[in-house]
């Protein structure tokens, strides 16, 4: 399906002898927005330079508010001050000079979040020149970062924002067993991806089960060509990374000894030579340290169980199984292990591993205690209507006898994706202190007729349906 891509690997130039000797993924270190904005400062490569524009205090009044915490407030107010949600409740007083949004009859939700997008890496227009989503030259490319392929002028970004999306994770494609690092961004207009990057968000790691890797490589008589080959590939990659971590641990010990010898006046002490940096293994080491979150494309229930065993073997956690059309078969296990299911409402049938798709999948994965369902898109079309996909799944759940009110279903496109991306402490719900990522809908978002009237990102009104920008955001569309 997806053609082969050229290699785009930017070399990180961090010194490895500072502080902790084990190399850390530079952008995995949280960078405070205020500091990050200073692009001249000594910042880690590729880290976020995004800082919100100043914004008016805004009081949205009299709406049906779905907070994303499972609560619905009728006649509710949301107050955004300084780019943050200040309070959520009823009859909130308006600060002086605040913009007042009379939202009677309208609904308010947190900004929607898509955990699975290829926007910018498979941009519109889909030209060969912009075909940058799969580094399908090697089944393990944990060294590549999706952000280095992101074209910020992709017109899809503005379309997604107009669909109420305020954050998304951009992932490499699924040609590879381990496809590379994903990046979480905010839907803000920008010339560079650094200026879109969600400050402090951890990287994701894209892994893929099943048919895609074995088709891409096996089709050319390369490894892997079978599912057992796939599993050997994941395990060898993590085993190599374990060895790499050992090498660095050994180096740390030798360096400590060297420093001690120096301090004790041993003039003949020679400094140890650090291991050669390996960008593939560096990423996997960060996964095993818990600093990068695994997002695993995996359709079949039995393969999910295999991946859970591999995660246990190497001591990492899987944040979410993506495209898990069979997740419903394993709903209790996923809930017990704290793994989210990032799912479509009704995609199925286009390949064998999608043959058992059912429309109740999201509702069933949501049902057990601790169940975590996420509506994801994997589509520049679908991302514009995540709310409608949630509505379809909610409806199917209800018909199957599962009571899923809107205040619960909205979590599938807000709090749950935020949780799987490691950003729930900053966004994904309407709670005091969180980012002012807020959508005012023309009515219930669980409708085919739903349209986002207003979309705020960090308190900044970025889309106003009644007053659309006279020109498209993307330079390409001029």
């Amino acid at each position: 399906m997806s053609p082969l891509k050229r290699l785009v690997v930017a070399a990180a130039a961090a010194a490895s002898t500072a502080c902790a000797a084990q190399p850390q993924a530079p952008a995995a270190d949280p960078v405070p927005a205020a500091e990050a904005a200073d692009v001249g400062a000594d910042r880690a490569p590729f880290s976020s330079t995004y800082a919100p524009e100043p914004s008016l205090p805004t009081l949205i009044r009299g709406a049906t508010v779905l907070t994303g915490t499972g609560t619905r407030i009728d006649g509710g107010d949301v107050l955004i001050v300084g780019g943050k949600v200040q309070s959520v409740g009823t009859a909130l007083p308006a600060p002086e000079g605040a913009r007042i949004v009379e939202a009677n009859g309208r609904w308010v939700t947190p900004g929607l979040i898509d955990v699975h997008s290829h926007m910018g890496v498979y941009a519109s227009p889909g030209t060969d020149a912009l075909d940058d989503g799969n580094e399908s030259t090697d089944p393990v490319t944990s060294n590549v970062w999706a952000e280095h392929s992101v074209w910020p002028q992709d017109p899809g970004f503005e379309a997604a924002l107009q669909g109420g999306v305020t954050s998304m994770q951009i992932l490499p494609g699924s040609a590879n067993l381990i496809g590379g690092r994903g990046v979480t961004i905010k839907l803000v207009p920008a010339t560079t991806y650094q200026a879109m990057k969600f400050p402090g968000a951890p990287h994701g790691l894209k892994m893929a089960c099943g048919e895609n890797p074995k088709r891409v490589y096996g089709g050319d008589d390369q490894f892997p060509s079978t599912r057992m080959g796939n599993v050997a590939g994941y395990r060898q990659a993590f085993a190599d990374a374990q060895g790499y971590m050992e090498d660095w641990k050994e180096f740390d010990a030798e360096r400590a000894k060297y420093e001690k010898d120096l301090a004790e006046g041993d003039e003949d002490a020679t400094p140890p030579k650090p291991p050669k940096r390996d960008l593939k293994l560096e990423t996997l080491a960060e996964v095993m340290r818990g600093n990068i979150l695994v997002h695993n494309h995996c359709y079949r229930a039995d393969e999910m169980a295999t991946m859970l065993d591999i995660a246990k073997e190497f001591g990492y956690r899987i944040a979410a199984f993506h495209h898990g059309v069979e997740s419903y078969k394993l709903a209790d296990r996923l809930a017990a292990e704290g793994v989210c299911g990032a799912l479509w409402a009704d995609w199925w049938g286009f390949k064998m591993e999608a043959y058992d798709g059912i429309q109740e999948n999201l509702a069933l994965v949501d049902f057990p205690q601790g169940g975590c369902s996420i509506v994801h898109s994997d589509s520049e079309e679908g991302i514009q209507r995540l709310n409608q996909e949630a509505a379809k799944a909610m409806t199917r759940g209800r018909l199957a006898g599962l009571d899923i009110p809107p205040e619960r279903a909205i979590r599938w496109v807000t709090a749950n994706p935020a949780k799987s991306l490691g950003i729930l402490d900053q966004t994904g719900t309407l709670e005091a202190g969180k980012m002012g990522d807020v959508v005012v809908w023309n009515g219930t978002p669980f409708s085919v007729y739903a349209l986002a009237d207003l979309v705020f990102v960090d308190g900044v009104l970025l889309y106003d349906r009644a007053h659309p920008a006279p020109k498209p955001r993307s330079d390409f569309q001029l």
């Binding site: 227009p125 017109p155 709903a331 286009f350 520049e380 409608q388 007729y449």
Partner: protein
Amino acid sequence: MRRLSLIVAALLLAPALAGAADLLIRGARVHTAGAAGTLENADVLVQDGRIAAVGGGLAAPPGATVVEANGRPVTPGLFGGVTQFGLEEVSLEASTFDAELKLTAPAWQHMWRPEFDVTPAFNARSAVLPVMRVEGVSWGMLAPLAADSLIIGQGSAVTLDGRYDAALHGSRSLFVNWGSDAHDASGGSRAAQYMLFDQAIREVREPGTSAAAALLLPEGRAALKAYLAGGRVVFYVNRASDIREVARFAAARGMKPVIAGGAEAWVVARELADAGVPVILDPLENLPGDFDRLGARFENAKILHEAGVRIAFSQSDGFHLRKNRQLAGNAVAHGLSWEAGLAAITSGPAEIFGLGGSRGRIEKGQAADLVLWSGDPLEVTTVAENVWLAGQPVEMRSRQTELRDRYLERVKSHSAR
């Protein structure tokens, strides 16, 4: 959810019955998709698989099954789209995919096979079809696929009522790639598409004058000849300038063009209306997917309809046909009238494919393909509650409902692990 009578429930569980009883759906909001528009508190009488009467206060013939709609909406069965359903079980499994011709001779020898017709490969027992049927999809247009050919081949509309001989008379059409999608098949230039098509036409009209390396075999000449005498030819084309040019080109050579894709059709809406050229489009297409679609926008359907162009909706992927009503709902959200939205998935496509006299509307004499909905048929939170095809109740089961029922109990009892 409202309940049907026990008699009807029993019928629904039974396998398709031959010669079912008459059916009276009473007290419905009947969306006729025709000139009568929407009728409140109306009845629909079905006899012998056809709609016998539509109106208020119809009497139930003796022995008829009576369904109380209690104000719920009834629509004609939905058009699934221009698609490959029944031609494929699993897209990526080649052994289950019959929509594409891949002969092994040199390309120039086999590219042009207008005689290739996918209709006989239609599998009325495909597991895909019940999944669509229970969602109210009653028919669709089978179309061949080919990425590397200008003329792709022929297809027919099919009913999903379960009969083996499912092709609908009068719907046969020829499918042609045009514009950048056919670049590779035309030597890298879309200008050559006109050149090559004219070469093929000359082979049909003046056999014997063509070069030794002809584009068409004798069977192909015969097949194409029928289309040059007023046959329906569907052109997959998106760029406004190409749409305008190919519509004129086709009409001037005796063909009856239909535009499919049509991302930029709104730009030339007036010309298409004047020429009576219909457009099959995806109203969700609003991004510049390629350089032929830079002008894609949500308002395409609305602009075309208001200019007087007949429209139909299709997303083409055989596994997403049940999404067609969501396409219509979104077109309505972006300005298309509700009635026009429904028409674009019922009467519109029926007219486009020459079937307006037999389906697509709730009118006397039409095929009794009917859907009773839990609410607004274009809304994502409603479902088809009952479906009748040719007057027979459809068993509301599919492989997907079977999977659901198996695992629903496991999840509810916390044993899905």
